[in-house]
């Protein structure tokens, strides 16, 4: 392992141990700005770790970013690692990021599905779900992006444990989901929630389970447009944006529908880049370009959150 975050290879994919070591390294070198919080344990007992970037204060308004809830989407976890370094490097140098951190805490969950991620590195590169056992079925795992208490069980998820979009037996049945739910509720002051997936080149906002429009649709749409423009400006990567149900498909029990219904207005989900050639097997050479273009869009959303208190 590298001895500092400077020598860490951000242009390569890393396994769970390496990413968790990186998080410790980050905290060890910068304990005034970043700390590690364990918000729960996965089904198989792995710690669920979140990085907290904070310049002080208590229960400040916060921005949440998570990457890799679908374990096989490796470019998202790799982007999460890059974001951590970017936040650290930017504080005190980048005026806009500094002002965000002077007013908000940022929570970053780099490996949202640790069991699934470990499984992709050891047994099945294409694993997407959690690793929980399903009573009465030999099929393993729940789609953690169908397991939230927002339209749970409605169209756009499956009741069959053997499918990739199995919703689970009940909302929050997955400890990986429950940990975030408990954290968000207990925190109570999260103002933006951004959940990052790959790949389809989309920036989406609620809703997914219903065709009703979000109350803040106009603002969410305008902000999405601005974020996508920033993203595209770097490498020309084309994104579409809109509500989940109108842009891709009906999906019930999804993360940002739940966060939006909890009152987190700026709830977004990304689908990162896809060249149309590799899908989940995006070559490591594309990690940095993907992460750096996504960072620009994240900054737009974070700046807007800072400038539009509610």
């Amino acid at each position: 392992m590298p001895r500092s975050i400077e020598t860490f290879n951000y242009a390569s994919y890393h396994n769970l141990d390496e990413i968790y070591d990186f998080m410790d390294l980050l905290v060890g070198e910068n304990s005034k700005l970043v700390s590690k919080i364990q918000i729960g344990k996965s089904y198989e007992g792995r710690p669920i770790n979140v990085l907290k970037f904070s310049t002080g204060g208590s229960n400040r308004p916060a921005i949440w970013i998570d990457t890799g809830i679908h374990s096989r989407e490796w470019v998202t976890q790799a982007s999460g690692v890059y974001f951590a370094k970017k936040i650290l490097e930017g504080y005190g140098k980048d005026a806009s990021l500094t002002s965000i951190l002077d007013n908000f805490d940022i929570f970053l969950e780099i490996v949202t599905n640790p069991d699934g991620f470990a499984f992709t590195h050891s047994k099945n590169r294409m694993w997407r779900k959690t690793r929980s056992q399903n009573s009465g079925s030999s099929c393993v795992g729940v789609d953690p992006n169908r397991n939230w208490d927002a339209g749970f069980g409605e169209a756009g998820s499956s009741g069959n444990p053997c499918t990739e979009t199995y919703r689970g037996p009940y909302p929050n049945s997955e400890p990986e989901v429950k940990a975030i739910v408990d954290f968000v509720k207990s925190h109570g002051n999260i103002k933006a929630f951004i959940s990052i997936h790959s790949y389809s080149q989309l920036l989406l906002y609620p809703y997914g389970y219903t065709s009703k429009k979000a109350a803040d649709q106009a603002e969410l749409d305008a902000l999405a447009q601005k974020a996508v423009e920033a993203l595209t400006s770097l490498h020309g990567t084309k994104y579409k944006y809109g509500s989940i149900i109108t842009t891709i498909y009906q999906a019930s029990g999804g993360t940002i529908d739940w966060t939006y219904e909890q009152g987190i207005k700026y709830s977004y989900t990304f689908e990162l880049r896809d060249t149309g050639r590799y899908g989940f097997m995006l070559p490591a050479s594309q990690i940095i370009p993907t992460a750096e273009e996504t960072w620009l869009a994240l900054m737009v959303i974070m700046e807007h959150t800072r400038d539009h208190p509610y």
């Binding site: 390569s12 590169r125 294409m126 053997c162 990739e164 891709i248 590799y278 097997m281 490591a284």
Partner: protein, 93 residues
């Protein structure tokens, strides 16, 4: 360890909603063990699906007989997995 030797990822271009529905029929056939990376939604979006070797012929015949256009996005998934592993081990070393 699950291997993906001979698995291909097909990119399917449904021309209209009728063809999207035909691909959805494929999705429902569990014995084919298809893994949809991008699900059939509407004709504007391509569909990506990982097809195990044993199901390749059947899926391609189905698509061709229904006049549904497709291309091979990943010729052999395992070779990409192997490349990825090699790259990671080199970086680690």
């Amino acid at each position: 360890t699950e291997t993906f030797v001979g698995h291909q990822v097909l990119r399917i271009f449904a021309a209209d909603e009728f063809q999207v529905e035909k691909v959805k029929e494929l999705e429902a056939l569990e014995h084919l063990q298809l893994d949809f990376w991008r699900h059939p939604i509407h004709s504007e979006f391509p569909i990506d699906v990982r097809v195990p070797f044993d199901s390749l012929q059947g899926v391609k015949v189905f698509l061709e007989s229904n006049g549904i256009r497709y291309s091979i996005m990943i010729e052999d998934l395992q070779s990409l997995v192997d490349e990825e592993k090699l790259f990671m081990s080199r970086q680690h070393f």
